[in-house]
Subunit: 188 residues, 4 copies
């Protein structure tokens, strides 16, 4: 099996974010040939403004796009804000979507989605909006199983934020295993 | 009829934005008792970060929220980015949604949506995501008619960006008239 | 307080349906001035076909529409099938939506949504699609609180299908109380 | 190139349906190795009812599922009713989704979507709900280009219902060519 280098994009900035904690849990739950690298910080990207774009893509946008381009697959792990995608991480997608067709970083990239929340739905509403966004960006979007970490406050260690819930660990493992096969299958 | 003061929120930062141009067209298309004021700039709001929030809501968030609170109704006029809500303006909603229940600015506010784009769908996909977001924020959301300004490049004067398309002017007028009645009807 | 006669529409045909059981629980959880009546059976309506419509609306469509027209409010209680609205009950909406503008039964009707499922999300995904549908039909759509009965198999008595879960009973009561106020508030 | 046998599912029953006319236009716009067969009639399937299912899947459901199983790819061409999926064709998906995991007909099937409408949006709102549904059913869903035939009354010959609009013919051709490559690429 080929090595699969996966870029992780985390939608939360909070230090004790459950989504960030979920990202940190991925390596131990992944197939042996899958490695992970965090995307460059989207919080350094200014708000999208076409007038700014005219003067050139800001460096943090170029860095974000470059990291996406070199990945074999992408995992987006993000909270849901107000039943849809957080504005901050969405802003990064808004910028890179303006690149010329031959430089579109997400085009043809396999992508899988995850979300964690302290509520009962685990970010489910957001994931379908994100699927729409990633369809437009030209991704191949992984289907099932979905990963929704509901009631996240009960599923991570209070101190270390290690993912301790066995059911969640199992479904994340299943998703990563499925995603590895999906990447192999759909790559052009 | 009571005076209705409506706050406008524009989702685009571009100087020659068709959405901004649509906002500028509202006063001449509105019922006589409806006046408009632009929301404080959302682009001054930092990306949402719960760690920052712990130290207090940044001043631009408080200003944005205060303007929403004093309005009789809200009109959000925004482009669609990547089939959903632009990250920048969404970030403002993400911040104010964290305010305590009794200070939630959008709660019980009548809101109407508009969008303009240079493509054939006029931002239609985005509006349903925005409806979900505004439902969570507790708004009373105006229904029909919807305003989608498709192929906006053909509907505004190239130089002045004045809204010249008669069909569009008519539907915007109808929406504003309907929205005025809706505000009167649903106010608690 | 005026009497509020509410029409219930149940999206499931199964005899032991949890959604039907939820509808049966409504009277004891509702404000004193709210009474309930079941909609005429949508399963007697044929599949929508414009060629059939040309010869006249079938009697079961007219009966369904008439019941909607005379209600003060509507509650739709339905499972989610394949992440969206069940085809059967949707077919009833498809038919009545073809009536002439002055006979549109749902126009201006306050509507509230509920769903029960045996999975962890309780039908949440479906409700936002149903909100879109009902917006087009011209309803005034009740916002919060939402009613999702997740893991329904644990919340109803195994024998009698009586709604026994106290948390669920409370949220349903809150929704019905809120809906009663909403009906009063938005009626033209 | 291998022969690709594609099953077409049309969401409209109307004899002069623009969606049906679009399906009839596919062979002449498709790559040489792609052939088309119409799905068995979904209108013979009763409304989904778990109590009926207990006695066995009705014959028209089995026929519909069998046709899906033997196809190399699926094209769903359907109108939008009330901003979402028509109830009738959705009912067919609801039935087959209840089959045991190893008999799920849509699992792993490449699917592409098309819609035609007489309005300006061409069914766009519906397609994202259908994408969600087909994701749950386990399909590999083709992304871009999308086919929305807006203002369909102007794009087909009034008498013969032949697809005459050149722009539409071109985009349909592009979708079919892309879909052929996608089928080859994603097949397990």
């Amino acid at each position: 099996m080929a090595d699969l280098n996966v870029l992780t994009i985390c939608g939360s900035l909070r230090k004790k974010s459950y989504n960030a904690a979920l990202v940190r849990a991925l390596p131990e739950l992944a197939p042996a040939n899958m490695t992970f690298k965090a995307a460059p910080p989207w919080e350094k990207i200014p708000f999208y403004d076409a007038d700014v774009q005219e003067k050139g893509f800001p460096a943090p946008v170029e860095e974000f796009a470059a990291a996406v381009r070199t990945a074999d697959g992408i995992i987006i792990t993000t909270p849901e804000y107000n039943w849809t995608i957080p504005g901050g991480v969405k802003n990064a997608f808004d910028w890179v979507s303006r690149m010329p067709p031959d430089k579109q970083p997400f085009k043809g990239k396999p992508v899988a989605l995850q979300s964690a929340s302290q509520g009962p739905l685990g970010g489910a509403r957001m994931q379908y909006h994100l699927r729409m966004c990633m369809t437009y960006l030209g991704c191949d979007i992984f289907g099932l199983p979905e990963v929704f970490v509901m009631m996240a406050q009960n599923k991570f260690d209070k101190e270390t934020l290690k993912l301790t819930d066995e059911t969640t660990r199992k479904i994340v493992s299943q998703q990563l295993e499925g995603f590895a096969k999906y990447i192999e299958r759909v790559k052009a």
